[in-house]
Symmetry: C2
């Protein structure tokens, strides 16, 4: 089934205790698309870049089955740029530079044939842009998921609430869930957030895994304990891409289908952090992914 | 099989955002014994209390199958006392008062018939006391586990290293594992700590579950997401008591047996935090525990 993904396609400069990667490929939509492309070849994106974005990177996306009709390329302008520095623990980071560039006045246009996409992943962007995309859909969607961040809770809460009312799935991290709900307990936070709209909630806890809240069910997906995390950038977007890509492939969003999709997303995120930028996502095989998902199964297996 | 447990038997005053519990029953050995008593009735303890400790609490322990021959009662002295205040998030706390009292010159004596206990849980105490207990054992033990804390790493590292060389299992929390090993990654920390002695390591991550490292295997036990945590005091000791109690009951410390024991410990800890002090541990039934362990199984269940 078709998957429509929106978000940034961008450059990042990433500083970690392991090294520096300058002006590498980044952006939520990039990570989502690469991750999803291992599960479905029917992907549309809606995004904007400047003239500076490498042609061969666009070719690489096309080769993964990503349709670029909805990618606006602005002549003479620069792509969105983010620079950040990770702390020693690799869990927290400081933003050093945010250059909006082409993103400053992005007006997303969903291509005609993408408007009936059965699955939609609204990557982290201003709620106003997410709303604009929702307005262009034809209403035939099976499952619409969104990501967001604390910045929009601080600066665009009214719009954010409007988006929340119109999506089925929200993915966000634990601190964001606490901020959005005003509840410390994630169980209470999930109940409060579900009352805002989404009936399905994925709370990402980084190295501690993820919680999936469905109608009456709660699922705890572990994270794979890793000896080395080289670059956490994009791990959450990679999760979202794997999650929605898996659902688009299986066309199954029953509770048990959603659980498998969370594991698929977690597996993809565990690859993402093994190298800078999208480098690890470029070279995966289906076998790598199947084995990694089985590793998650083994990690938590016990018999009573 | 018999279980020998050492640690504090004490009074706590606990301040949380939910309320205050003054001079309630506490202590590592208390929590360990109560938790283990749901799995085995063949428990010895080695501990010291003052004249102030209530007789009916000792009777309650006896009724749970705990042999008190190794409990020294000092006439005219006071029991160990700890007072702490939990922060809003219930994850961190400040110690307000620590009165060693009888613990200041505790010289543990293991009763003759407890020296051949097949399973031993060295609760968190000075490494010197843990060493003294080890010296009194008859060498027939099947599995010796220990708990410790960052305070001993700061003040008694030489002795702590001696204990580590003589135990099979170490339980500690994630921050302690990082401090002990000097490694941030828990995978690397576990490898470093196993080189110090214990071949089995349980890293407790509180609301994020626990990791069990055995010879070649890694197991991720989830924590049950709870709407309310009333009092985290003793949760780690309760985990240890459930873990070692389950092993003593089953006499199985194979990798799969250890995994079940981690779930048993996690289940007991999830009960512990539901009320102040040992209150929730007083009233459990076997059915409660079996159902809770099944709840852990359901929480992580998915089919690939």
């Amino acid at each position: 089934m078709s998957l429509l993904s929106i978000g940034t396609v961008a450059f990042d400069t990433i500083r970690t205790p392991y090294g520096v990667a300058e002006m590498v490929i980044g952006g939520a939509c990039t990570y989502i698309s690469w991750a999803a492309s291992y599960f479905t070849k029917d992907i549309f994106i809606v995004a904007v870049i400047g003239e500076d974005f490498p042609e061969h990177e666009l070719e690489a996306l096309k080769n993964r089955g990503v349709n670029l009709d909805g990618l606006e390329i602005r002549k003479g302008e620069k792509s969105f740029f983010w620079e950040g520095r990770y702390h020693e623990n690799m869990n927290s980071r400081d933003t050093l530079v945010t250059d909006l560039n082409v993103l400053a006045d992005f007006n997303p246009v969903v291509p005609e044939k993408a408007r009936s996409s059965k699955y939609v992943m609204l990557g982290n962007l201003t709620p106003a842009i997410q709303l604009s995309v929702l307005d262009q859909l034809d209403g035939s969607q099976k499952l619409i998921a969104m990501d967001t961040m604390n910045f929009w809770m601080d600066t665009a809460m009214d719009d954010l609430k409007k988006v929340l009312k119109r999506v089925h799935v929200l993915t966000l991290n634990d601190e964001e869930a606490r901020q959005l709900s005003g509840e410390h307990s994630l169980v209470k936070a999930a109940s409060a957030i579900k009352r805002m709209g989404p009936e399905i909630l994925v709370i990402k806890k980084g190295e501690h895994g993820a919680l999936l809240f469905t109608q009456d069910d709660l699922f705890y997906a572990p994270a794979l304990p890793l000896a080395d995390v080289y670059d956490p950038t994009g791990a959450g977007d990679t999760f979202a891409g794997g999650f929605m890509g898996y659902i688009a492939r299986t066309d199954d969003y029953s509770p048990s289908g959603l659980k498998r999709a969370v594991i698929a997303g977690s597996a993809m995120a565990s690859f993402c952090v093994e190298a800078f930028s999208i480098d690890r996502l470029r070279t995966l095989t289906d076998t790598d992914i199947i084995q990694r998902m089985q590793q998650f199964k083994n990690l938590i297996h016990f018999e009573l």
